[in-house]
């Protein structure tokens, strides 16, 4: 049999995943700091742009210490500390080998290369990290430099995820992004020069004021920039953000879902023509090897530890999350208290529902063993409606059904 190469459309079939445990073990570290909180952002972030440089550095040092302390405490407590008490999932006493690390934010690169290197060093000190583990750091183009990326590469970072959002200057202004349209391209060159090979660009489409041509030009620019991974998200306006309030007051139009669908189709067309594989509803990669392994872990219902403010962890059917307040997080860690703000042990039904809603996001779909019980009539109707299909013995969304994913899930989940 001929060897399957990355470009072969059958490639993903060689990567069958039947349950979370086979997907690996991840570590998520959250850095909440940003220069400025953008109008659409509802993540756990803390804007520090107004603070004096010296105060910022003191805060960053404190936060780094807290992250390391938090990590060490969790590791020392053992995996059973996070596992459900009912013994489901058969969690052992030793931590699995870490297969992916993701430092997200906020803008983690505001901490600087040395602090991030120290953080990764602490991870290696207390956990076993696989030699080929994927290590990703999120960054904003304006924080990029050859020196920073060099430091990160030496610390073992092999992948960057950069918030480019758009290549149209007026769209960047609406999104309150501080960089100009060409900055991500420069940043990519700096990443390669610093020794980081894999770069993802984050894009947002359907922003008020964005035209079809703006979006097409943005996608073309991405192809020219030479990235190997693209995440493109339809702008979602949350009530509790500046955009949400602007929509409520009538100052900003509501998102137009038809228009977002059109832009989504354009993204599929342009990126597909550029050789990108559309492997998750919002994610494209140049072949299976360049998919985000850490994000695949989420979609495959895998296990991951959470460290930092507003971080989410999952282990064997228990999910937990930490406080979204940086001040409260620092106080808790300083006082030796847990920063955990909440947790839930999933019922078997909820686990099945999650596997469905996560699994259908991914092109590979779901193995029948991972499917929750589905009413045959509901499945037949969802297939007749063109939402889902079976392919190679797996259930997955159709191309058209992907943008109607929630309709598909709510029809199939009991």
């Amino acid at each position: 049999m001929a060897p399957v190469t990355a470009a072969d459309p059958r490639a993903w079939l060689l990567d069958p995943v039947e349950s979370g445990s086979a997907a690996g073990f991840g570590l998520y570290l959250h850095v909440p700091f940003c220069d400025h909180r953008c109008g659409y952002c509802d993540f756990a972030t803390a804007a520090v742009g107004d603070q004096a440089e010296q105060d910022q550095q003191v805060l960053f040092d404190r936060y780094l210490d807290a992250l390391v302390t938090d990590l060490r405490r969790q590791v020392a407590a053992g995996p059973r500390r996070h596992a459900p008490e009912d013994g489901r999932g058969a969690v052992g006493t030793a931590w699995p080998v870490v297969t992916s690390i993701f430092i997200g934010g906020g803008t983690p690169t505001l901490l600087g290369g040395e602090r991030l290197a120290a953080l990764l060093g602490a991870v290696h000190d207390c956990l076993e990290v696989a030699p080929d583990a994927e290590v990703t750091v999120e960054c904003n183009p304006e924080t990029a430099s050859v020196e920073l990326f060099g430091n990160l590469a030496r610390a073992g970072v092999g992948r960057l995820s950069m918030g480019a959002q758009s290549f149209a200057p007026h769209v960047l202004r609406t999104l309150e992004r501080g960089h100009d349209a060409q900055r991500p391209v420069t940043a990519m060159a700096q990443a390669r020069e610093g020794g980081i090979a894999e770069v993802n660009l984050d894009l947002i489409f359907g922003t008020p004021g964005e035209t079809d041509d703006d979006w097409r030009a943005t996608l073309e620019a991405v192809l020219v920039a030479g990235t190997d991974h693209v995440s493109a998200y339809a702008l979602t306006i949350h009530d509790n953000t500046a955009f949400g309030r602007a929509v409520a007051s009538g100052a900003m139009p509501q998102v137009d879902e038809d228009l977002q669908r059109d832009r989504f189709d354009v993204a599929r067309e342009v990126l597909g023509a550029g050789g990108f594989e559309h492997y998750e509803v919002s994610n494209w990669s140049l072949g299976p090897a360049r998919r985000s392994r850490h994000n695949l872990l989420y979609w495959r219902h895998g296990d991951y530890l959470a460290v930092g403010v507003g971080a989410h962890g999952h282990l064997a059917g228990r999910r937990w999350w930490t406080t979204r307040s940086t001040a409260r997080y620092l106080d808790a860690i300083g006082a030796g208290d847990s920063p955990i703000a909440g947790s839930e042990v999933l019922t078997d039904e909820e686990r099945a529902e999650e596997r469905l809603l996560l699994g259908l996001r991914v092109r590979e779909g779901l193995h029948p063993n991972d499917l929750p019980p589905i009413e045959p009539l509901a499945l037949e109707e969802a297939m007749d409606a063109g939402l889902v299909e079976t392919s190679c013995g797996r259930l997955r969304c159709t191309e058209a059904g992907w943008f109607l994913l929630d309709e598909a899930v709510s029809r199939l989940a009991l």
Binding site: D258, Y298, W299, H312, H314, W321, W402, L404, L405, D406
Partner: protein, 617 residues
Amino acid sequence: MTYPIDRIRNFCIVAHVDHGKSTLADRMLQLTELVDPRKMREQYLDKMDIERERGITIKAQAARLPYKPLGDVDDEYLLNLIDTPGHVDFSYEVSRALNACEGAVLLVDAAQGMEAQTIANLYLALEADLEIIPVLNKIDLPAARPDEIAREIAAIIGGEPDDVLRISAKTGDGVAAVLDSIVDRVPAPSGNPDGPTRALIFDSIYDAYRGTLVYFRVVDGSVKPGDRIRLLATGFEGEIDDLAVNSPEETPIAALGVGEVGVLSAAIKEISQAKVGDTITLAGKNAREVEPLPGYREPLPMVFSGLYPMDSDDFPDLREALDRLRLNDASFTYEPETSAALGFGFRCGFLGLLHLEIITERLDREFNIPLVTTAPSVRYQVTLEQAIDPDTGEPKVVEVSNPQDLPDPGQIASISEPTVKAMILTPAAYVGAVMQLCEGRRGTMIAMDYLTEERVELRYQLPLAGIITDFFDQLKSMTRGYASLDYERGDYVVANLVRVDVLLNGEPVDAFSSIVHRDEAYPFGKNMVEKLRELIPRQMFDVPIQAAIGSKIIARETIKAKRKDVLAKCYGGDVSRKRKLLEKQKEGKKKMKSVGSVEVPQEAFVSALRSTGPKGD
């Protein structure tokens, strides 16, 4: 303690919603020291949760207040406060409560002035020959205009503006003077203590343990526990188990004589056996010769709506809930009906829209049955073309309260619709707007009077169907909330009416059918399909919505198929939030009724009928 007739004063309070009636009643209870201050609560007499929440009185109540006027230490009077319902739906109940009194406190907000409902009830009070004691409330409000409103009151009821008492029920200021006035001016009851017993039922409530409790006022004779009573209209007979007065908690009493007010129980199993307005007498061979007290009327529903369980499995529960509600509300009616779109349900009759709202809210709250309520309709009289009524020899007339039951147009000779005589009070500046509104609803003006230079009383004959959807809201918004409305039943009038049907995805949906005037059918149909296009969420396929008269399509809209339904990414592994959003979405779907292959939200069935007229300004 029993009171001689000349020491008894029976009175009620006539007031508009929010003008402070319940607060004044609370103060009176406190002033006569009947309620332990620790047990005092707001709106003491309003017992139902819905009453307290909405700040309105639905059921009538009574309180017995022993009172010694100032400087009259030995001279104790018995004041009976009969609290009346305060809404146009219940004007018959109000009239019976008024008939149990000799006097009425006319309570008017010193900032707002008289409202239509107050005036309508005032007229009922004058018809019942009550002594009117005008009182201005809320004189401590900065916006109070006591002099101006006192003049207005004097102009309407006669007398001098200076005779209008000024109080603040909130602070208690002036309330004693109101009580003194009641003693001085309200006549003592008159009645024959030795004649055959006659007592007026002004309210009844259902108690799960004791059966129906009957509130009454003795007109002639007396009653005591153990007496065997007969109710003249329903023919119920039974023995009085408990006889009590409300002071204001229920207190047993040995006997009640002429002019006294009390409550009795007599193992009356169903509330429909003790109707408001009926006469209580003593059973016996002479009972049939006792003259009933005047004014009794059978409750007559005016507004009809289909009630369907969201989940058809709830149908037996809905039937049981309606049976139970009927036990303590004899004025609503229900009979089973079926709808091709909604399945099995009930066609229910109500006194008015508030009554409808109260019943559906109680079904939801007390019985937890999610419902689809179809748009309210009225009862039409349809004269048939060919058929002859065998009893009268006249053309046969059928009554239709569900648009679905309207006979084929070919069989109809004519259709009559119920009308109301409406009274609207409005500031003079809005007369034009109000007239336009009434004429838009096919109203005919009967009279227009300037009560003062500023306030105008308009009287219209209006089709009932024209005011049961959003007339009141429109009136309020056009007049910035200043106009008020009251109405009473009018005659049936022949009108050129047709049925407008609605088709969803090509299939007629019977629950959306309405009977409207032919001249209004096109705009009605157009508005209806536009509304439905907004109310029904996008589906997986294009859904045409059509309005039709018979087979003729008069309006059409299309709900385009949805093209996006996916929530944001799972940021940083936050799957819980995503799952909860989806679960919420699924909950929302449960509030949809599947009509054919189209998911229709619960509220669409009523909201589609609300017109999109100008909103104020």
